[in-house]
């Protein structure tokens, strides 16, 4: 069902309450998501972004209830991943000549996905599209998070259509940040930032500063997923500036895997040592194989120190730890310290191998790690406490 936002702008997207994972299984979406599409009716009519492919027919059918499709003058594609461009084929079947405004990379990506020779209009930063009372201004934002990404600013109504930037995988019928639980939304906004945008933090920092410096009046930030930032929209901008700047809290995140509990006992003792040495520090233990991988990465992002532990298995480390090491490498965390630990039986390679991978992933290694054979006894657990205490 369409939702009116201003006299000229209507939300015409899709709320996906059931979505539990995104990008295949790369990203968990525990609270569902939405694909936000916006219809602007001024003297000219513009549609900003579409929805994910499985909902293409539903999207077009509902759009028809809202407007005669032939009245749409322009389609604006801020970013062309399938969750936003997915309904284009279905839509263009009805209105094939309608110009599609996107970046040069956007055209290449649409062509690469749908292999159609549509009427593309390439835009660059500063290009404008007058709609009547209001005007759209385009701002290229490459690698936030794809090469094609751009923001569209609507003067008059003072709306920034930021696509994935400032988005959250969060299903709600309530549309606005001030109508939902802020703790939930901020958690989802953070998880989204960490898992999708963090590799591009230098670009985020520069682009957000650039947008702030433009001094645009800002009533609403309308992203392509989750709630619209209506109450103090600058709050999410401020968060992005913090998150993009090698963010960390006074937190130590201990991620471990275990087969027969020894590495878990070590993790707990290390945590106790840290907590005793520094009572104000937040210590979090997460089981790599049991906890959600994206939640673990989010807690790694919040940490100043990340400790990773695995028992040695077949001369290496566990598959869950391997997955997290690869994901952490890709997310390019900055200015975080790290070390490894684990229990072993006879050869004990895991600690050293994890340490090497952490280093390759850009962590600053604080020491060679701690490894203990078989099941830790009282003295060994005390050594773990001591090791933890010396980290903080």
């Amino acid at each position: 069902m369409a939702k009116k936002i201003t006299d000229r702008v209507t939300w015409v997207g899709k709320i996906d309450w059931e979505l539990k994972s995104f990008h295949g299984d790369e990203l968990s979406t525990d609270r569902g998501s939405s694909y936000n599409s916006y219809l602007i009716r001024d003297e000219k009519v513009a549609l900003i972004d579409t929805v994910w492919l499985p909902y293409d027919r539903e999207f077009v059918a509902r759009l028809k209830e809202e407007i005669n499709l032939n009245q749409i003058d322009y389609i604006i594609m801020n970013h062309n991943e399938v969750d936003h461009s997915g309904a284009l084929v279905e839509l263009m079947r009805e209105i094939p000549g309608t110009p599609i405004y996107c970046t040069a990379k956007g055209e290449a990506i649409i062509r690469g996905h749908y292999h159609q020779d549509w009427n593309f209009v390439r835009v660059k930063t500063g290009d404008t599209l007058p709609l009547g009372e209001t005007t759209l201004t385009f701002i290229e934002a490459p690698m936030l998070h794809w090469p094609d990404t751009m923001f569209t600013y609507m003067s008059g109504d003072n709306i920034l259509f930021s696509n994935d930037g400032f988005g959250q995988h969060y299903a709600t019928e309530s549309l606005y940040n001030d109508r939902v639980c802020m703790a939930e939304v901020m958690q989802e906004a953070l998880k989204y930032y960490v898992n999708i945008l963090n590799p591009f933090s230098p670009m985020v920092m520069r682009k957000v500063k650039e947008v702030v410096a433009m001094n645009l009046p800002l009533n609403l930030i309308c992203p392509s997923h989750g709630v619209i930032w209506r109450e103090t929209p600058t709050q999410i901008i401020e968060k992005y500036l913090q998150w993009a700047d090698a963010y960390q809290e006074d937190q130590v995140t201990i991620v471990y895997d275990t087969m027969w509990q020894s590495t878990r006992k070590m993790a707990q003792a290390i945590g106790e040592g840290i907590q005793k040495a520094s009572p104000s520090t937040t210590v979090k233990l997460m089981n790599a194989a049991v906890d959600d991988k994206n939640d673990i990465l989010t807690e790694m992002f919040r940490a100043k120190i990340v400790l990773m532990g695995s028992p040695t298995i077949n001369n290496g480390y566990s598959y869950a730890i391997a997955g997290l090491l690869e994901m952490a490498r890709g997310l390019k965390f900055k200015k975080k310290r790290a070390a490894a630990f684990g229990s072993y039986g006879w050869s004990g390679e895991a600690t050293k191998m994890i340490t090497e991978h952490l280093q390759q992933a850009g962590f600053e290694i604080v020491n060679e790690g701690i490894r203990q054979s078989w099941v830790p006894d009282t003295d060994m657990l005390q050594a773990c406490r001591q090791w933890g205490a010396e980290l903080v």
């Binding site: 970046t103 290229e140 690698m143 090469p147 094609d148 590799p199 230098p202 670009m203």
Partner: protein, 54 residues
């Protein structure tokens, strides 16, 4: 002449090859590329490149 790597996507600019698709002839040093040139793969600016140590 030094190679330069895009910090964001990993593309490497090799002066011996240039970037002919964007009008940068083979043999152009990175320093001589105009400032409005962008990474041919991901579109970020020249300032997002770092020299490659070989």
């Amino acid at each position: 002449m030094k190679k330069y790597k895009c910090d964001i996507c990993g593309y490497v600019y090799d002066p011996a090859v240039g970037d002919p698709d964007s009008g940068i002839a083979a043999g152009t040093a990175f320093e001589d590329i105009p400032n409005d040139w962008v990474c041919p793969l991901c579109g970020v600016e020249k300032s997002d490149f770092s020299p490659v140590d070989e």
